[in-house]
């Protein structure tokens, strides 16, 4: 990732250290407060802000009262009754549906994206500049702006091909794959550009076809960016609410987003406990994936991917 700023300069604040000799001992606590101490205060406030909702959800999930009122930070007694109530719904079915949709979308997106990025990085052809710019423009116009048309399209398609019509996971995946190209293609092309061209040139001289170069050289060398795009596509698919809520009406076909939303929106007061239990479980795969891919992600994000 050549464009990632990796040069580590001296931390900004080191330059603020007073010049000249060591100050008298009695000045040190004051100076420490001015230069370092306040940072702990800011960090403490930031930690509270960032973590409070998460901590509170964990607490709520194990609170036996199950209602939004009367919740204490440390539940007493700790109970799993919320999970038992939750499992009376189709929760695991929703969970599985979400994993299937997000998983297939992520893998499919990466593949489609890599194919496109390969030609943009390695070949020069008529319309290259125009189509690259078009992809960038399309990225600015999110797919779900056309949600009404997508809905009507799926009704129309479903008349002839119910396999990918309303209420199907396949239909949902197909729609998400429609958004596979876009900024992700740019990210991936940027990475492919950093893989030396000499590599594939000499492989071709060696008799390798362009397909072989793509599968046996470019893809393995591009593993970091593939990981980043996988994660981003997975997150986009699992977080989407608008398309899923329009397409899915059958409770057994719900995903986590639609299922948990319907579950809690019907009765915020009484279903709070089971809902937080579900939220906790829903967060697990994403957090795991995040931790697993974190080191790739930071650099990938800086190249301009968007979320939040």
């Amino acid at each position: 990732m050549s464009t990632v700023p990796t040069r580590t300069g001296t931390p900004v604040t080191d330059a603020t250290a007073p010049r000249g000799g060591e100050p008298p001992v009695w000045v040190r606590p004051v100076r420490w407060t001015q230069q370092v101490g306040w940072r702990y205060l800011v960090v403490a406030a930031a930690l509270f802000f960032a973590l409070f909702p998460a901590v509170w959800v964990i607490s709520a999930a194990f609170n036996p009262t199950g209602s939004i009122a009367a919740q204490r930070l440390i539940p007493d007694p700790i109970s799993t009754v919320n999970f038992e109530v939750l499992f009376e719904t189709h929760f695991w079915r929703w969970f599985g549906n979400s994993m299937i949709v997000a998983g297939v979308t992520a893998v499919g997106s990466v593949f489609l994206c890599a194919l496109a990025a390969y030609v943009y990085s390695r070949m020069r052809f008529h319309g290259r500049r125009t189509s690259l710019l078009a992809l960038l423009l399309l990225q600015m116009l999110p797919q779900f702006l056309a949600i009404i048309a997508i809905f009507l399209l799926m009704i129309g398609l479903g008349r002839f091909f119910p396999e990918i019509g309303l209420n199907t996971l396949a239909g949902l995946i197909a729609i998400y794959l429609g958004g596979a190209l876009g900024l992700n293609t740019w990210l991936m092309k940027g990475f492919f550009d950093t893989i030396p061209h000499d590599l594939d040139e000499s492989a071709k001289i060696d008799g390798a076809s362009h397909v072989q170069v793509f599968f046996t050289m470019i893809l393995p060398l591009a593993a970091p960016i593939l990981a980043v795009i996988t994660l981003l596509s997975f997150i986009v698919a699992i977080n989407d609410f608008i398309v899923q809520s329009v397409l899915l009406t059958d409770e057994r076909q719900f995903t986590l987003a639609v299922g948990l939303y319907r579950f809690i929106a019907e009765d915020y007061g009484a279903r709070w406990g089971p809902f937080t239990a579900g939220a906790l479980l829903a967060g697990v795969p994403i957090v795991l994936l995040f931790l697993f891919l974190q080191r790739y992600l930071t650099s990938g994000l800086i190249q301009g991917a968007v979320k939040g």
Binding site: F125, N239, G269
Partner: protein
């Protein structure tokens, strides 16, 4: 291009260089042949699958009386794919097509289709095509006439299928089934015991008790006959229901034979009584109404007022979110960018938590926490702030929650950008006697802004259409009083579009929803055009 090892490749042991390559450069017929054979095989299998799929799709469309252009599209697409992948040329296309097909069907086409819908009256009551609407009107006009013929009926069943043995007023006997209508008994295989018909064509006679057990199936039974249908009135009698409205394809008029009224199709997609314009038939069908939706959006006070508010709030929300998250992220990045701070790695990891949790879930959690009566925030502070119920508080709340969602990303970006600012700049500034604030204003901020401008632009565009936070936190509410469409004080354009189209309160007006979506397209596209110059990757296109 090169047969010698270049500096860039010597870390890659798999790459042959120098003499090695020169030797292998000479054709290696065997390996080449093997690779190609495998490639051709895979290609043919895949193409075969594509063609098979194409044929299946065509068969399906034709079988269901689908439109000819559907068949044509599938056929032409399949042939084009064959041509491209079997041909030797058009190499880039071979790689671009898989993603492009999905892009065209599920993104480009919906965009174009949205424009079309915006010029129609598509919506509740106007969903069907005219042919479908006529069929529906004729079907619902089937009713029992006062002088309708009565039939004697005996219930029969074959497994789950139910049927009736019917005796007409002039004593003809038929077997009536929902699929085949009336079948004269003479043509069927009839079993009689003691002069009683006990079985016909696999259907067996049911006792009254057995029929009573399946009463739902029998009440739902409709036996189609010409211009109407037969249904049960009791378990031993049936009556004829007749169609009363008829469409004449030659005149284009629809006549009600009971009242004698004549209906003509209007340009609004309804059949209207030619003598009484107030008398219209449901359902209607969708018609192109031109720029009517756009005119309504800009002139009708009950639509224009809320729309203008939503528009202004969309910009305000995107702006506040973008710069709020950037300011907070930058503040935290600067705060933690000091080697003397202990545990920085852990703090940085903790800052990512809001980013790592799925937003659909955390938005709903914030909604619970901000509940006025029993939310944890009010309970902790001991107040009753209407976080989500008062217009101004609700606006504050969505921005606050979005700050929570967005600052980790800005924190990551700012951290990386800070670390890339050369330290000698600061040293030079110190030598010149610049204060800490001056160094921030004159060095850190300008350099940071240059590095993060593309990110700020894309974050703005993202928040412009941040459906999840708004819809899941407030649903766009509290509602704006006096609005003709469902509109709330926290609605942004995309949630507004969604609610007009899919929430029943507004009567599911797809045309109007698409109109708002088209206006959003235009605004976002204009924003994109303006920001293109800032986005660095553009410069790399011409390498």
């Amino acid at each position: 291009m090169t047969t010698t090892t270049s500096p860039g490749t010597d870390t890659q042991p798999s790459v042959p260089g120098g003499v090695d390559a020169a030797i292998r450069h000479g054709d290696h017929p065997l390996s080449r042949f093997g690779d190609t054979l495998m490639g051709v095989f895979v290609k043919l299998v895949l193409l075969g699958a594509v063609n098979g799929l194409g044929v299946l799709m065509i068969v399906r469309i034709v079988g269901l009386d689908g439109p000819w252009w559907g068949v044509a599209t599938v056929a032409v697409t399949t042939l084009l794919l064959d041509g491209i992948y079997l041909g030797k040329r058009k190499l880039p296309l071979k790689y671009l097509i898989p993603g492009t097909i999905f892009l065209l069907i599920f993104q480009v086409f919906p965009f174009v289709y949205t424009f079309y819908i915006a010029f129609t009256n598509y919506g509740l009551g106007q969903i069907l095509t005219q042919d479908q609407a006529i069929e529906r009107i004729e079907r619902v006009s089937i009713r029992t006439l006062p002088d309708a013929p009565r039939y004697g009926a005996v219930p029969f069943a074959d497994g789950d299928d139910v049927a009736l043995l019917l005796t007409s007023p002039d004593d003809e006997v038929f077997l009536g089934t929902p699929d085949d209508g009336l079948l004269p008994l003479a043509e069927l295989d009839v079993t009689e015991v003691d002069g009683r018909i006990v079985a016909v064509d696999g259907y067996e006679r049911l006792s009254l008790g057995a029929a009573q057990d399946r009463i739902d199936a029998f009440t739902a039974l409709r036996i189609p006959v010409e211009e109407g249908e037969i249904e049960l009135v009791s378990l031993s009698a049936a009556t004829m229901r007749e169609q009363t409205r008829f469409y004449d394809p030659d005149t284009g008029l629809l006549t009600d034979e009971l009242t004698g009224a004549v209906y003509a199709p209007s340009d609004r997609g309804r059949f209207v009584n030619v003598e009484d314009p107030a008398d219209t038939l449901s359902p209607g069908w969708r018609v192109v109404v031109g720029t009517e939706n756009f005119v309504r959006a800009f002139t009708n006070e009950a639509i224009r007022g809320p729309f203008a508010r939503v528009l202004v709030w969309t910009y305000a929300f995107a702006f506040l979110s973008t710069f709020g998250t950037f300011a907070l992220g930058l503040l935290l990045a600067i705060t933690m960018n000091d080697a003397r701070l202990k545990g920085r790695r852990i703090y940085r990891l903790a800052m990512i938590v809001p980013y790592a949790l799925p937003t659909f879930m955390t938005a709903l959690i914030w909604r619970g926490m901000m509940n006025r009566s029993f939310g944890v925030i009010n309970e902790m502070i001991g107040v009753a702030v209407p976080w989500l119920n008062d217009p101004n508080w609700a606006r504050f709340s969505v921005v606050l929650v979005n700050l929570w969602f967005g600052f980790p990303y800005m924190f990551l970006i700012s951290t990386a950008a800070l670390q890339s600012i050369p330290s000698d700049l600061y040293e030079a500034a110190s030598v010149d006697g610049a204060s800490g604030w001056q160094r921030f204003r004159k060095i850190t901020l300008p350099l940071l802004l240059i590095a993060t401008a593309p990110v700020l632009v894309s974050t703005f565009a993202f928040n412009f259409n941040n459906f999840n936070v708004i819809y899941l936190l407030t649903g766009g509410n509290p509602p704006i009083a006096g609005a003709a469409t469902p509109a709330g004080h926290t609605d942004i354009l995309i949630t507004y579009t969604y609610r007009i189209a899919f929430e029943s309160g507004g009567g599911q007006d797809y045309g109007m929803g698409a109109t708002i979506a088209v206006l959003t397209f235009v605004l976002v596209a204009a924003m994109a055009a303006l920001s293109f110059r800032w986005i660095r990757p553009l410069e790399e296109i011409n390498e």
